[in-house]
Every structure is written in C-alpha cells, then in structure tokens.
C-alpha cells in the first residue's frame, strides 16, 4: 500500500518518496476509471489529483454520456454511433479508437449502474437517453444536467473502497525516465510546497485539457495542459493539437461569468438559437454532410420535437464546430445579441416544470449569476473554449503512448475525436479508455521484471527548477503573463484563424516564453497560487506553442479548425495527422498518415440513416 | 483528526458570537416569545376549568379542545393537589407529548431555549457537555409513540367540531361552530404533515413501483410530503388556533363574549 520509502532513498532527495506499481496522474473520470481497473488487476495504485478528490473537470460535464444502448430508439447501434463519431470528427479520428468506443460504451455505462449510479429512467425502467448534437438517435445516458457529477461520484466511491492510494492537491511537474522507459514522476504538494517523488513502473496520464490557454473558457484553473506538456517533454508524440473545441453556448453576461458552460442538453431538449432579428438562423448553416438528416423547415423541426420519428433533426443539433461558427458569423454580421452573442430559447419550447426538472443546474446558474429566469426569457450565449481534441498519441487497444510505460486516457489523449468531438462522447471516452489505460498500464507493469531506477540527478535538477520563481527578485507575476498569453491565443489562435495571424502568434509565443523565464513568486511555498501558476505557465506555453504550430501546418478547414485563408476541406489533409514532437529542445511538426480503415467500416460512414 | 483551535480573529465559540451581520436573532426571539405566551396561557387555561357546575370549557355544543375527550372525575381523592384537579389532565399529555417531540419543535426548541445553537454559524456557551439526542434527549425517539394517540385525537376533535353545529334547538351555525371546525382541520394538517407519519405511510419503503400496495403508498407519501414541506406553518397555525378555540369557548362560557349565531 501507500509505502513511504523516503528513508531508503537517502539524502539525495529531501522530500517524501512513494513507490507504486501504477501511478495515475489526474483524478477525473478517466483517471479514476484507470486507477480502478489497474487496482482490480491486483496492483498497487496511486491516484494523484491536482485538486481535492471529486473536484476534477468531469464534475462539470452536464449533458450526458453517449452510448448506443438503444433503450429509447431501437434503431441505434454501435455502428450508427461509430458513423456519427467519425462524421462529427470529419473522418480524422483514429478509427480503431472510435470503434472500440462505440462498441464498449454501453457496457461501461451499465457497469456504472452496478456501482450505484442512478441515471434518469425511461417509462419501462431502463436508462433514459437524450438527444445531442451530431448523434443520429437519442443516445446520452444522463442525470438531469449533472451527469458528470454522478459519474465522478460513482467512480470515486468505488475507488475509495478498493484501496487505491489517493494523493490530493499534488501537482506533477516532471516525468522521469530510466533510459527510454518511464520510472516515476516528480511533483509538489500544493498545501506545503514540498517536493514529492513517485516511483512507478507505469504512469497513466489523465490530466484533461488546456482550456486555460484561452481567456473565455469553460475550464478551471487546473486545465493548463499538464499531461500534454509532461508527455511532450518525456518524448511522446502529440497529435491533432490544431483542433480546439469551442463550445457554441457559453454564458456571456455578466462579464464575470463569461465562458461558463450552458449545456448542449438545452438544445437536446428542444432549445433553439435565434439572432437579434428573431430568426432561427441555424437553418442557413446546414453542411452538405448533414443535409440528408437535418430538418430544413421549422415545421419539420417542430414535428421532431413533438416526437415524430420520421421528422429529421433540427439544425440546432448539428455538431459543435458548425454551430459555433454559425454563431460567430451571425455576431460578426451584426445580428448578435446586446452582449455579442445570440439567443438560446428554451422558455417557449418547454414547460417551466420540464425545464426545472431536466435542466435544474442551468435554471439555478442563470437565476443566481445572471438574474435571468430561463423558463421565461431566452439566454444569451456565445462560444467558449471547451475541449482539446488533440493530445497524446496512443495505441487504441492499450492506450499506450509512444514512450514505454506511459499511457494516456481521456481528454489528454488524442485521436479518438478527430477534428471535432461530439457532445456526450467525452464521458463515454473517459470510461472506455480510462479502463483500457488502466488495463494496459497494469499489464505493462506486470511484465516489467524490476522497478526502473530513478535518476536522482534529474530529480534534483527538476526540483531546483521548481524553486526558481522565488529566487528572482525582480520579474513579472504569473498572473500577468498568463493573462497576456490568453489574450494572445484568443486574438490570433481563436475560432477563426489565418496564416498571417498564426505567424504573429509564433513570434508572440517566443516573447512570452522569454518573459516566463523571469516569472517571479513572492511569499513562501505553502499554498501559494502565485507560485503554482508560475509552474503551470510552463505547461501552458508548451501546449500553446503546439496549438499554434499545428494550426499553421494544416492548410485547410476541417471540424474545429477554421482557416479563412484555406476555407475548404481537402481530401489529402484528411489522410494525415499533424504530429508535434520534441527533438533536442526544439518543437518539431510532422505530417504522418492515419491508418487505413477496413472497407466494411468505410461503408458504414456513408450510410444514410 | 480534529478541528484545531482557531486564531482569535476567527473565534466564534462563546454564546452569540458570530461574524454574521444579518438579523439572525429575530427568528428565535419571535418564536420563543410566541411559544412562551402559548405555554403560559394553556397552563393557566388547563388549570382553571372553572366552577364544577359552570365549567369554562363547555358552552352549549362547544367543547374546548384542551379538555377533549372529556373525562369527568366525580370526586378527586383528597390527597390530590387542588391545583391539578382538572379534566385537561387526562388529555393534554398526548398533544403536548406529540408537539414536544415533533421534529420541527425540536429544531425550534433547541435553538431558542437551549441556544444549541442560537442560530446557524452562531456560537454557543463555551463549555457544555453536548450529547444531542443521545443523552437525556434520547426520549425524542418517542415521537412515534405520541403519533398514535395524536391520530386518534384528530378523530375526536372532528367529532367535537361537527357536534358544535348541533345546538339545543337543532342544527345551527355559530361563530364558535366555525372556530371549532377549523380547529380540527388545522390539527389534522399538522398531524398528517408530521415527519413520523410521512415515514410510516411510505418513507420507509425503498422501491415504490415494486408492488401494488407500494404504488398506492407512494401516492399517499407524495401528498404527505407536500404537506410536510409546511410542517412549521401547520405547527404554529394549529397551535395558535387551539389556544384561541379554548379562549373563545371560555369567553363565551364566562359570559364575556356572546356567541353570534349565523344560522
């Protein structure tokens, strides 16, 4: 169990040392599920959380977890789910991941029920599923608008009783290697600021995304791309970094709540988008790919809402990339709401009672933070940075990264979602691949004959680096640099991008990196956010640079990447991933081919259902 | 791990110590005063049944709820204290016991009279050996014992209420009839909104859809739950009305007020 081995290590390292078979970094859904699986394999498992246990970003997931259970519409199957996922990802997904995901998601959801989760029910007592953008059939298992909370709490309680060692409020700053293999991780306790060393045979990264690279985001302070940066510096590949999902509906007013998420469930349950002229503008933005399955008249969309299965889905339920771009265009062309958003209206579509029952969180959020009663008035919404499609390149079956002993799951892994993630696919992603990562790590650790050795010189150097912000007497605070970085990313690397601005961003990021070398912290190490941010800043800069370089490399528009200088989707670009890799100290960019999909799967994609 | 001592800047133990800036004292004050008035009046009322031939608890078809059901003692034993020679004695223990162990009353009683705590996030007297309802107050678990007679009493009070419409000259409606029919309605709302009652009708089930009787009990439980949300309101309004009912009958019986016949 939690074995403190500081004494054995001797004086080379001053802090605490723990030794474990598998270390999982990140305690959201993916991390918890990975830890559970590795523990079920009989290994000693440590779970590291940047915050307290149960506060990770999964808790913010609202709408639901997509799984083709076919309880609500029996036409659904893993085949349709697979097809929808690839169409949503604009065919750039790692098809093996999308396939495993579609096939295994139902079992992962049922498993949660066996662990005590209580999803909303259908009339015949099964799990109720709701509609969501890009999903052909109602597919999202949900609990009102707090599905993520249900999932994280279920996993948390399961983990607690399995004897997993939990290290709370601990941030990892470096992965350690023995030759080419992973050997451990170094970090610090947030509460004391003291360093801590974890020795492990295998490490699973489940650190989530990097929304904090942007100013308007639905993500919390934790989301600084730590896992992406750790993996990158450890020599792993990052793919699809150019694809950053902007969720179409974030709050816009008051200013202090700008970016807070408004669940897609609002649209899934019938909510519609209108511009300042009162037009339901989404009818004008239906891409060819979705023409066959999307209503083109309000009359048909209304029939769909009333439950007519022959009616096609309303255009508000197009994929997130499409809706976000449409909103940006409406605002740009002068048809936006007073605070540069559009109107999301559920009040005129559902009864007040229904809204309060199905969307209680949204109701409270608007009532308390914006003074708006969503059962009576429309909400004002605009896109907000929400999710990273890009991440650590992994093997679909085992979630293994390109570095032996390193695994990644959930948002910090890349490939599963291609160029755009469908809503609801991330909760199922983290269950499916969390489990696979835990299993992969356990199998790897079991095969390893001995504990890899940690290079204490490397540890000391990294430890020294951590303290540097305190040693600078003059310099800027991390707050200032992060805020400038966020503004730069929003201005030059936002929803709509072009070469000129991306080139400028390349210059700006270099300047910011220079400034970061002078970042300073005051006070002492104990629970000092100024210092913590200074360390997070390193990760943020790394991922930001990767986003910029990848976006600059891909000369087309696809899914979440919109290049106004290359507005079309190019077939050739659909066959390659942009890969970011560290060579020496340089960040390099490469194009590498996607693996070829078997014909029978290809056939599924073109099916009109 | 236990709570460490707080630095003195943050210390809020010590009676009434708090950083709260709102008027938290208001609620315990009015409820405390309101209840004290009731206790004083009801004690006085119960102990003053009036002269034997001309009791103050009865007038025409009206009977004060403090004395219902009426148990008349022909001759009290000599050793029985004079002050306690009242028929209310046989009755009042039930509603008083029911109210004194009521979950709402407990909240109010502990807060207002025992100052344990006087308000949320408000400090308490420094050292007292708190045992909650594990020590002396374990008797609060008797609430259910009192619920059973309380339900019986509702029926009896309804009987009294209906009887109050039948005067010596036949059916009629006096102001007193109305007072005495409203009274059991309020008592019923208080009794059937009780948390114990809510538990017994359906709260103790884990699966509402699993059998016919469970489905039926779910319906009842749902209704009782609705009532239960306002248990505090029913507590106060029924308490006040019962007191007023006794007062009304007493005033009429004493000849101070005249009962106005509507019909």
């Amino acid at each position: 169990m939690k074995e403190k081995v500081s004494d054995r290590v001797g004086s080379a390292f001053g802090g605490e040392t723990y030794e474990q078979d598998v270390i999982v970094i990140g305690a959201g859904g993916a991390g918890l599920r990975a830890a559970i699986e590795a523990r079920l394999q009989g290994l000693s498992v440590g779970l590291i959380c940047k915050s307290l246990l149960g506060k990770a970003h999964t808790v913010m997931a609202e709408g639901g977890a997509a799984a083709a259970l076919a309880y609500v519409d029996n036409r659904d199957s893993w085949k349709v789910h697979f097809r929808d996922t690839l169409r949503g990802g604009k065919f750039l997904n790692n098809y093996k991941m999308a396939l495993l995901h579609a096939q295994e998601a139902p079992d992962r959801i049922k498993e949660l029920e066996a662990w005590g989760a209580l999803f909303d029910r259908t009339e015949d007592g099964r799990i109720l599923q709701r509609n969501f953008g890009g999903h052909r059939f109602p597919r999202l298992a949900h609990v009102g608008d707090r599905t993520g909370l249900e999932i994280i709490r279920t996993l948390q309680d399961k983990a607690v009783h399995l004897g997993i060692d939990v290290y709370m409020e601990c941030t990892i700053t470096k992965l350690l290697k023995d030759g080419d293999k992973i050997s451990g991780a170094l970090g610090y306790w947030r509460t004391t600021g003291e360093s801590v060393l974890f020795k492990a045979k295998a490490i699973v990264l489940a650190t989530g995304g990097f929304g904090k690279a942007y100013r308007v985001t639905s993500n919390s302070w934790e989301y600084t791309g730590d896992g992406h940066a750790l993996a990158y510096h450890a020599g792993a590949d990052l793919i699809d970094m150019e694809f950053v999902q902007f969720h179409p509906t974030g709050m816009v007013w008051p200013l202090s709540v700008k970016g807070i998420l408004v669940t897609e469930g609002v649209r899934g349950d019938g909510g519609i988008l209108k511009n300042s002229k009162g037009e339901r503008f989404m009818f004008r933005y239906i891409p060819d790919l979705y023409k066959a399955e999307t209503s083109d008249t309000e009359e048909e969309a209304n029939r769909w809402l009333a439950g007519d299965k022959s009616a096609r889905r309303p255009p508000e339920l197009l994929t997130r990339d499409v809706v976000a771009k449409a909103i940006v265009k409406e605002v740009k062309e002068g048809r936006g709401s007073p605070h540069s958003g559009v109107f999301l209206d559920i009040a005129s579509r559902r009864s007040a009672e229904d809204i309060k029952r199905k969307l209680p969180g949204m109701y409270q959020q608007f009532k308390e933070l914006a003074g708006i009663d969503i059962t009576k008035e429309p909400m004002e919404v605009a896109p907000t940075c929400h999710y990273a499609m890009g991440g650590v390149r992994v093997d679909a079956e085992t979630a293994a990264a390109t570095v032996p002993g390193l695994f990644a799951a959930g948002e910090c892994a890349g490939g599963m979602h291609g160029a755009n993630r469908l809503g609801g696919n991330s909760l199922s992603d983290l269950l499916v691949f969390g489990r696979r990562a835990g299993l992969g790590a356990a199998e790897y650790a079991k095969k390893l004959s001995s504990q890899p050795t940690v290079d204490m010189g490397e540890v000391q150097q990294a430890q020294q680096q951590m303290s540097e912000p305190f040693e600078r007497s003059r310099g800027e605070t991390a707050y200032k640099i992060i805020s400038d970085l966020q503004e730069m990313m929003e201005t030059y690397v936002g929803i709509v991008r072009e070469e000129k601005e991306l080139s400028l961003a390349v210059e700006k990021i270099q300047q910011l990196k220079k400034r970061a070398q002078n970042v300073c912290a005051t006070g002492d190490k104990a629970y000092n956010p100024g210092w913590n941010y200074a360390l997070d800043l390193t990760s943020l800069l790394t991922v930001s640079e990767a986003i910029i370089l990848a976006a600059k490399e891909r000369k087309e528009s696809r899914g979440a990447l919109t290049r106004i200088d290359y507005p079309n989707t190019e077939e050739d670009w659909g066959k390659v991933n942009v890969v970011i890799r560290k060579k020496g100290t340089e960040m390099t960019v490469a194009k590498e081919p996607l693996s070829e999909m078997p014909e029978e799967l290809k056939a599924l994609l073109q099916e009109t259902i | 791990m236990h709570k460490a001592t707080l630095p003195k800047e943050l210390e809020t133990t010590g009676l009434g110590k708090t950083a709260r800036k709102d008027k938290w004292l208001f609620e315990p004050l009015w409820t405390g005063l309101g209840f004290a008035i009731f206790v004083v009046y009801s004690t006085w009322g119960a102990l003053n049944p009036g002269p034997a031939g001309h009791p103050y608890y009865e007038w025409g078809p009206y009977l004060s709820p403090f004395f219902s059901p009426l148990f008349l003692v022909k001759a009290w034993p000599d050793w029985w204290p004079k002050i306690l020679r009242t028929p209310a004695l046989f009755v009042l223990w039930a509603p008083l016991g029911f109210r004194a162990t009521c979950y709402y009353f407990r909240k109010f009683f502990y807060r207002t009279y025992l100052l344990d705590p006087p308000g949320c996030a408000v400090g308490e007297a420094r050292s007292h050996n708190y045992k909650g309802e594990k020590g002396f107050f374990i008797y609060q678990n008797l609430h259910r014992w009192f619920l059973y007679p309380a339900v019986a009493l509702v029926i009896i009070l309804f009987y009294d209420g209906v009887k109050a419409f039948f005067f010596a000259d036949g059916f009629g409606i006096g102001v007193g009839s109305l007072v005495l029919i409203i009274e059991p309605i309020l008592i019923a709302l208080f009794t059937f909104s009780c948390n114990s009652f809510r538990h017994l009708v359906g709260g103790n089930l884990d699966c509402y859809s699993c059998s016919f009787s469970n489905r039926a009990r779910y319906q009842v439980w749902g209704k009782v739950s609705l009532l239960n949300r306002n248990h505090m309101f029913w507590f106060w309004i029924s308490l006040g009305w019962v007191g007023f009912s006794d007062f009304y009958v007493r005033m009429v019986a004493m000849g101070i007020w005249t009962d106005w016949r509507i019909l």
Binding site: K110, E113, G116, Y527 | K3
Partner: protein, 252 residues
C-alpha cells in the same frame, strides 16, 4: 465600477488577521471574482480553493459575512451595502492557509461507510427502476461535497464531535445508499452507534446553507432517524416483529 472594502483572512491556524483590501467591482461580480482580482493585483500568494466557478464542484467554500457560502455563487451586489465584506475560511476544519482548510477528515469518514451492494440483476445483467423509485436518492446525489453543511453543523463546529459524528454530508450519503432501490445492506446499527445520528438535534442549519438546495434534514436525516426508530424504538414495530417471530417459526 465601484470600490468596496473587503476584509479577508490572511494567516494559518496559528495566527492571522482579517486584512483589509479595496477592490474595484464590476456589475454581476461574485465574491470569488473579487478574490481572483485580489490575487492578480494585490496579493499573489493569497490561498483559496476553486475549480468550476459555476457552483458545480464545491471547492470555494468560505464564510462570507459570517455565513457559510460558495464564493462563486455569492453575488457582491446582493450583499448589504456600506459595511466591509468579510471573507473567512470554514471554521469546522483546521486552517491550512488563508481561505484554505484541511478537509481531509471528510474523506476518511467516507471510507467508513459500507459501499453500495446491489441485489442480483435481471437475466440480461441490468436492473429495472422507475423514475419515482430514484427521485429521492437523486436529490441526495446532487451533493457537490462543498462541506458547507459540515462547517455549519454545530455538532462539528462548536462541539468538535468529529470522531463520533459523521456530519450531514455523510448522513446524506448513507441516506442515498439506504434508500437506493437496489442496495441490500442495512446500515441502521452503524447510524445509531458509530455514525452518531443521535448527535444531530435537527436544527436544520445544514439545510439552510446547502448550495444545491438539498433538503438535508427533512428528506435525509429525519427519515434516517425514523428508520433507526423502526428498528430500536417503535413499540408497534417491535410488537409486529415479535408476533412475526411467534407465528413464523424459522420455517425457511
């Protein structure tokens, strides 16, 4: 924009002070925004927990003007004008630094609750449950573990019964298991003894502070107390049990 005076606790569990700051506030700002502004401009090392900033994770618990609240859901314009706004850490737990307290006790308590143990599933490996069977439990599962109820509960706050009483948060959790239509474990003996439900004198402060508006006392704690009464204190239930024992002699 107007300038307001905030008094924020700075220090640890040994010593500290309510330090005064002037902060410019905009329309619609919540207390957490003010704290963030303070960190970015005047006090970079001011410690405070937060994550979602939307009332969903339960990290930013504190005492604002003496009342336990989430900082992210407390709008500044709804606080009384004129007086300085005080922001203090929770008081039922040891202070680590500034607004951050050591809440690890809660995680230890959670481990002592016997886990969910379902009855056997239907032949297809799943269960059937009606919405009405789970409505009650879903209310309890809304809990975001902000621990404000633990903070305000005088049994913990004033009487330090941390070793004998699990507090409202975990009574909610026990309720969510006990009333779960699939669960098979009986936790009433634990409730009465180890979990110390008798320490609760139902003064309902937990319900008053719950940011998720869970009716903690009336829907969870009192029903649990009633279930304990069923087993240990109800004369009628006792009689029925005895009769059952007499008329159904261990046939099975």
């Amino acid at each position: 924009m107007e300038k307001l005076i905030f008094k924020v606790y700075r220090g640890d569990s040994g010593k500290g002070e309510l330090k005064e700051y002037q902060i410019e506030v905009d329309e619609g700002m919540v207390v957490l925004d003010a704290i963030h502004k303070l960190q970015a401009t005047q006090a970079p090392d001011l410690a405070c927990r937060w994550n979602c900033k939307a009332g969903r994770c339960g990290s930013c618990s504190a005492e604002i003007n003496g009342f336990p609240k989430l900082m992210c859901m407390t709008r500044i314009d709804e606080l009384p004008k004129g007086n300085p706004i005080t922001v203090e850490p929770m008081k039922a737990f040891p202070i680590i630094k500034d607004l951050v307290t050591d809440v690890s006790w809660n995680y230890e308590v959670n481990k002592t609750i016997p886990p969910f143990t379902p009855k056997p599933p239907e032949p297809d490996g799943t269960w059937r449950m009606q919405q009405k069977d789970i409505d009650r439990v879903q209310e309890f599962r809304k809990c975001i573990e902000c621990f404000l109820c633990q903070d305000v509960c005088h049994v913990l706050r004033n009487h330090n019964k941390h070793s004998q009483f699990i507090g409202p948060r975990f009574l909610i959790r026990v309720a969510s298991l006990e009333m779960h239509p699939l669960d098979t474990v009986d936790r009433r003996e634990l409730l009465k003894d180890q979990f110390g439900i008798g320490f609760c004198n139902i003064t309902k402060c937990c319900t008053e502070v719950c940011p998720e508006r869970i009716t903690i006392t009336d829907n969870a704690i009192i029903p649990l107390k009633e279930r304990v009464v069923d087993r240990y204190y109800d004369p009628l239930a006792w009689l029925i049990r005895q009769l059952k024992r007499v008329f159904k002699p261990s046939a099975k």
